[in-house]
Amino acid sequence: MNDSSIEEVRPVLQARDVSVQFGGVKALTDVSLFVRPGEICGLIGPNGAGKSTFLNAATRLVNYATGSIMLDGQPLEGVETRDMIGRGVARTFQNLGIYASMTVLENVMLGAHHRLGGSFAKAIFAPLRARALERSNREKAMAVLEEVGMANLAARAAGSLAYPLQKRMEIARALAAEPKILLLDEPAGGLTHGEVHEFGALVDGIRRRRNLSILLIEHHMGLVMSLCDRIVVFHLGRNLAEGTPAEIKSNDAVIAAYLGKAA
């Protein structure tokens, strides 16, 4: 959209005119969006605006009919879903993508799967090496859990955690992948107001320490406004607005479509 801003630094993620259709339902129509390195970009919009669908398209879980999505300037067409994480794109899921019967630690260790390759051949024919990798993976996963403040829960079954903790564990798993960009789909769901603040600090800390780019979908306006550098708004599957939190907060179209009277 704003071409001059793109010139400055190459965005980590850039989508242009992306459309997604499910049968007769047009979930996205020509949406564009970019995320700069080190930036937290908010993605908001009414329910059904197509935010999650955009995330799915950007991680190649759904196909887009038109447009292009580029990662570090590389087009994603033809890239397999499973290769996205290896290219530095890690994500969380709106409806939770956790493995309920595995422990928290196992879930987080899965985040590093793409680096370990998890090959049967290695496990069968090079067991010592496989075991060494496993050990270092476990240590790294523990470190990540430490970082998000969940180290004490490592041995719990993921399914037994409270909903917000499950969401947080998903973030830890995404971090274990050591991504360049993190796509978060409603990570603060189920948090109380105070917890949201704390959570915001956590995300911001992660971004700073790791110099990550983050695309954040949230309905929690307090969080979005305080955390994001820039916000993109979708409505009915199209771009509605884009700007700084202050601009968005006072954008009439956004207020009408999304925020409601008392934001």
Binding site: I85, F93, M102, H113, G118, A123, P127, A130
Partner: protein, 319 residues
């Protein structure tokens, strides 16, 4: 972690004690039966990996078992290869066949896959008859007994039993290597939610095919052992019902348990005949009831049931 290795050690020594006392106390004919049970157990080990961990239901494990048995028998009877030397080949050929059977699994799941593989199991005996020149048709093939070391010539069954046990050990080692690490996690991940697994970088195709290959290799190994222990094989031993029975063995033992594989193998061999020993004409009635009652009492399989009790007792003792 320490707990885990401790419980593994306890389990292993328990296993060793049981295995040793069987070899001492069981009469020769029963020892051979146990060896056959172990041959089935090897196939169940594979199926547990595939069904319990990879979540792919294969109703053709008996077929792959049969492929292994026939590879051993053909190599031995037709080409004179020593029986033990055929085992790796049996495993490899079954793995290859298993890969082929596994190909549809890349697109099919659950029930659909189960039924397609069941069809393969149903067709297998006919195929064996059709390839009569290779398989000996309905008359089957004899397999030489492996050379028994001097000191046990009196009880060749003991030697057979030890061979079976050793092969099962190899199988268990293989499975444990796969399961306790990144590969095993990926396997479970693609079972519980393939889409999420993909997003985590799991290569579904490769993971599933490897699971099929490993499982089939074990089926083939088990089949080879079966051929050696039986000394004679024919198509009648590899009817579709065998695949069903292996699945029953796997589930009754416990699909996610290695010890369960052995329980399952023993179950397959001994329970039907015990049932008919109780009452000849009511044998199957008793067997059917047994299946139902066992699952009602031990819904996670016999080992799951035992583990639950043991951990309950431990917790009592501890607290």
């Amino acid at each position: 972690m320490r707990d885990l290795s401790l419980s593994t050690a306890i389990k292993l020594s328990l296993f060793a004690i049981v295995a040793a006392s069987i070899s001492v106390f069981a009469p020769a004919y029963a020892l051979q039966q146990v060896a056959i049970a172990i041959a089935y157990a090897i196939a169940i080990l594979g199926l547990n990996l595939l069904m319990g961990y990879a979540g792919q239901i294969c109703l053709a494990q008996g077929t792959l078992f049969g492929v292994g048995a026939y590879v051993t028998a053909i190599l031995n009877a037709t080409y004179g290869v020593s029986p033990l030397a055929t085992l790796p080949v049996a495993a490899a050929v079954s793995a290859a066949v298993g890969l082929l059977i596994g190909l549809p699994a890349l697109r099919l799941q659950g029930l659909q896959l189960a039924i397609v593989t069941f069809g393969i199991a149903a067709a297998f005996p006919q195929l064996l008859l059709k390839l009569g020149s290779l398989t000996g048709g309905v008359s089957g093939l004899p397999v030489d007994a492996p050379e028994t070391p001097g000191f046990m010539t009196d009880v060749p069954e003991l030697w057979l039993y030890l061979i079976a046990l050793a092969c099962a050990g190899i199988g268990a080692l293989l499975v444990s290597r796969v399961l306790f690490g990144d590969a095993g996690r990926a396997l479970r991940a693609q079972r519980d939610n393939p889409q999420i697994a993909q997003a985590l970088g799991v290569n579904l195709t490769r993971t599933r095919l490897w699971a099929f290959a490993t499982s089939s290799a074990l089926a083939g190994l088990g089949g080879g052992v079966f051929a050696i222990v039986s000394g004679f094989i024919s198509p009648e031993s590899f009817l579709a019902i065998l695949s069903i029975n292996i699945v029953i063995g796997s589930i009754v033992g416990g699909v996610t348990s290695m010890a369960g594989a052995f329980v399952g193998g023993l179950f397959m061999v001994f329970v039907p005949s015990w049932a008919s020993d109780i009452n000849l004409s009511l044998g199957n009635l008793i067997y059917g009831l047994a299946l139902i009652l066992i699952m009602m009492v031990a819904r996670n399989g016999i080992t799951g049931f035992i583990e639950k009790w043991i951990s309950m007792i431990f917790r009592r003792a501890a607290g």
